[in-house]
Symmetry: C2
Subunit: 141 residues, 2 copies
DNA sequence: TCTAAACTTGACCATTTTAGTCAGGTATGT
DNA sequence: ACATACCTGACTAAAATGGTCAAGTTTAGA
């Protein structure tokens, strides 16, 4: 049960981005340097964040990324969903009609894992980017 | 962020075991058949559960495993710890003095992941095997 | 207009983890 | 003695992870 780098990096990068003003775009290069995340890897992550309308990109010199919405409207759920960081406690997929062990019934502890999933997701649904930056905002020099 | 089979199987197997009386030992073969888990894999798992004093083994014909303690005293935490299913949200280890990104400070979202870890662990600490078997006990035929 | 900064895309890959299998044992009730 | 069941360690195929690399396109500013 562990969080992957992709999910962690996505949140770290967005917090970094949000801490700087969201009028001037922030380049991935800056984020990469400040947070110690590989630039190439960040590009993969931001491509997903963009597709999911969490950030907007501005190309060219002095370009970069800015948030698409208010930090208060970006929940961890949204970020994780965007980068495919899913909370998966059971192997079985809801679309598959068969149960959890390949048997016809759901496994003996199915409800437990469902409950766990809900428990974890509620944490993510209640945390927004705004909560994470607090009053730690900085202005780009 | 997903639960591994080892953790899931351990809990499933123990719930299965607990649902039958804990005086007559239950063989892994039975659990394997009922829960659809490979016998060889179960043996690996139970060897860990035994080392962590969650189950006792009885060898020979009619042998098997029984719980070492009352189902109420076996928390999910204990089970997961036994089979190395850890909740890990940050890469950095507490023993390593350096921060999360190989930098000297802890990463910008460190506290968040700590909070998440606590949130998840509290779920595991408050669930016992007893909670999972409820009044679903069965008697071996 | 030229150039460098920055985004964009897709392929590729080494390492680690997962989820087991396999092949031998040893102990014990009947 | 023999079948049942525990016990142990080595091995491995497949997937996931955590990236790198290469080759673009776009645009601001000199």
């Amino acid at each position: 049960m562990k969080l992957t780098s992709k999910g962690r990096y996505a949140v770290m990068a967005l917090v970094d981005l949000a801490r700087f003003d969201n009028i001037n775009p922030v380049s991935l290069r800056d984020i990469s340097l400040r947070q110690g995340i590989s630039l190439d890897y960040l590009e993969q992550i931001f491509s997903k964040l963009k597709r999911n309308n969490i950030v907007k990109s501005i190309r060219g010199t002095q370009g970069g990324y800015i948030l698409s919405k208010n930090p208060n409207d970006i929940k961890l759920t949204n970020i994780f969903y965007a980068v495919d960081e899913k909370v998966k406690t059971v192997k079985c997929n809801k679309e598959i009609k068969r149960g959890c062990n390949g048997k016809s019934t759901k496994c003996i502890t199915h409800d437990l894992w469902d409950e766990l999933e809900t428990h974890i997701n509620s944490f993510f649904e209640n945390k927004s980017l705004e909560d994470l930056i607090n009053n730690k905002k900085e202005t780009r020099v």
